[in-house]
Amino acid sequence: MSTSTDTIEELATREYKYGFETQVEADTIPPGLNEDIVRMISERKEEPSWMLEWRLKAFRAWKDMTEPTWPNVTYKYPDFQSISYYSAPKSKKKLESLDELDPEVRATFEKLGIPLNEQKMLAGVAVDAVFDSVSVATTFKNKLGELGIIFCSFSEAVRNHPELVKKYVGSVVPYTDNFYAALNSAVFSDGSFCYIPKGVRCPMELSTYFRINAAGTGQFERTLIIADEGAYVSYLEGCTAPMRDENQLHAAVVELIALDHATVKYSTVQNWYPGDKNGVGGIYNFVTKRGKCAGVSSKITWTQVETGSAITWKYPGCILQGDNSVGEFYSVAVTNNMQQADTGTKMVHLGKNTRSTIVSKGISAGRGQNTYRGLVKIAKNASESRNYSQCDSLLIGDRCGAHTFPYIEVKNTSSTVEHEASTSKIGEDQIFYCRQRGLSTEDAVNMIVNGFCKEVFRELPMEFAVEAQKLLGVSLEGSVG
């Protein structure tokens, strides 16, 4: 392939498009972690005392926990005392409207393709923009408000809807859940909150866009979505960060709750800075995401396209508590260059006749290591439950790796669990076949990879699917040569 090698090399060294840094005056607290820092964060956010108490309990629990070592990734453990846990763009006064937003911050989001001006936005998508530790803007609030939908930053929800936050925060991911969930519970800065009232179908996609900007900080956002009886919501999450030589920590918690007959669709396109070709820098993405199908016939769908981060460690899962509830997980995870991902899902069947579907597509290129780890647990009382799992791995080149660790626990005899797995390599043969029909190597790889991911992409909302396809193309540029 001598003729195509040049262009491939060129593309491989192409820079991460979102790697710029915004110069903005920030209020950043000193690095380090202790109870005083937790209090300081709570104070900055003008939180009620119950929230602070919850944070402190989490912090005390975290102190007794240790960093998990079971994921199939290797990295230098973060020094938690050298991270700053809160950084926010300074604003002189409280924002009355979107027009008062710091022009630098607004420009940042414009540059990322997320205009915060409601007129300019994609019709049908409301955005909550999170810049470092705070939510800086939420669009279409009023329009959603007319339907009784609450879509705001987490901090705002703590102040304005304490009864809802109090009832649900930690109800799906308790602060004792794991090391990073405990850390997040202690120091979480902001995130999105969303409540869809009974019987309401949210008329637009809700979306949060996370941007890490400040150096030496971590981002610890917390998202809570509640779909009340019969409600429906589709939620999108996107993220980017500047290119830096040091690793930055992103430890988020997302909790979803679906009551009787409610549906929550949560889609993520994760494009944190992956580090350079040699594995220098990049985001540590250690995230706990879980949904609870609390009500009968409720449904939660996770769809994720993971192309960024140096290390990814996340298992969006569903607790299928309500009878007849449905959990779905569709995932494409790409590791190129030195990236490592250990990702998968947990489907815990508690209710009767509960169903879950897992479709995981791992793509490894360069020296990337991609691990699928999934748990399917069917409890004794979850009779007549079904799971179908499909894990496919695609290898590009011969220096990458794919690993699969399925865990299955079934405690009754009336349930069915199916697991299918495959590993394939993008063959020279496939590429040659496409080229012989007139397609370039890049187009051939794109076509093959997109074909491989098709079952996942069709679960994404339209605009996102297009975005994901493009992103995949960029992430894999230079991986064949």
């Binding site: 195509s4 040659f432 076949y433 080229r435 029909r437 007139g438 397609l439 190597t441 079952e455």
Partner: protein
């Protein structure tokens, strides 16, 4: 159209082609026959630009250009088509979508406008009829789960859509039952054209009952050892490849 001179090629360190000379003009159908291991598929692969073959000597001119200087996709866009002996499966990629991308790549090169979905469907439906194929076939993944016969038929269908100048059919008859063979051959015959050349690579004479060649060449041990008209194929059928080896100067060990 195609002029091969003293072509030598090897796979890793093993020389396979050891001085092939061949001239093919527009409108002609040439058959390349030979025993297993004689270098037939290597010749087809070298023409298409498969990079596991290394050309060590000789040259290939294609419509006046140096073919060996062109990347595989450039050759394809210039109208060189290879019907694969083992068509490759591409899971999840829609057959119709794949073919549309290929056709538009070729059309772009020719300076023709790209076809939109409607125009493409109209063209394709016509060609499907030619090979007696069901339109549902377009919605399946490229070659995935196809029977041997369907795969070969798909190759000729692609050829019908892409309208190449030079088509190389590599063992298109292998794995076909007699009915499928007839359909495939009829498809190929419908594509015979004064401006198109076809090179049929085959082990057996059987295919040549249906696709009657203008010239037959016998490849043995990396060289064309005998050329003739269509009668040569029948003679071979009769006497076997051993007859050729005796006729030609005995060459080293055969694979």
């Amino acid at each position: 159209m195609l002029e091969i001179k003293n072509l030598h090629a090897r796979v890793e360190d093993k020389p396979i082609l050891r001085g092939v000379d061949l001239t093919v003009n527009a409108g002609e159908v040439h058959a390349i026959m030979g025993p297993n291991g004689s270098g037939k598929s290597t010749l087809a692969g070298v023409l298409a630009g498969r990079d596991s073959y290394e050309v060590t000597q000789g040259e290939i001119r294609y419509n006046g250009a140096d073919l060996l200087e062109l990347a595989p996709e450039e050759r394809a866009r210039e109208g060189l088509f290879l019907a694969f002996q083992y068509p490759v499966e591409i899971p999840g990629v829609n057959n119709g979508y794949f073919l549309k991308a290929a056709l538009n790549a070729v059309r772009k090169e020719r300076g023709e406008p790209e076809l939109d979905a409607m125009e493409f469907m109209k063209l394709v439906k016509e060609k499907l009829k030619l090979l007696g194929m069901d339109p549902a076939f377009l919605n399946r993944s490229v070659n995935q789960g196809f029977s041997g016969g369907e795969k070969k038929r798909n190759e000729i269908f692609q050829m019908a859509v892409l309208q190449p100048k030079l088509a190389v059919l590599d063992e298109t008859d292998s794995g076909l039952d007699i009915d499928a063979l007839r359909i495939v051959a009829e498809g190929v015959n419908a594509l015979r054209h004064p401006e198109r050349a076809i090179v049929v690579v085959t082990h057996y004479q059987r295919l040549l009952n249906y696709i009657v060649p203008d010239f037959v060449h016998v490849l043995s041990d990396g060289r064309i050892v005998k050329s003739g008209g269509k009668e040569l194929a029948l003679e071979l059928e009769d006497k076997g490849y051993g007859w050729i080896d005796q006729a030609a100067e005995p060459a080293g060990a055969k694979a």
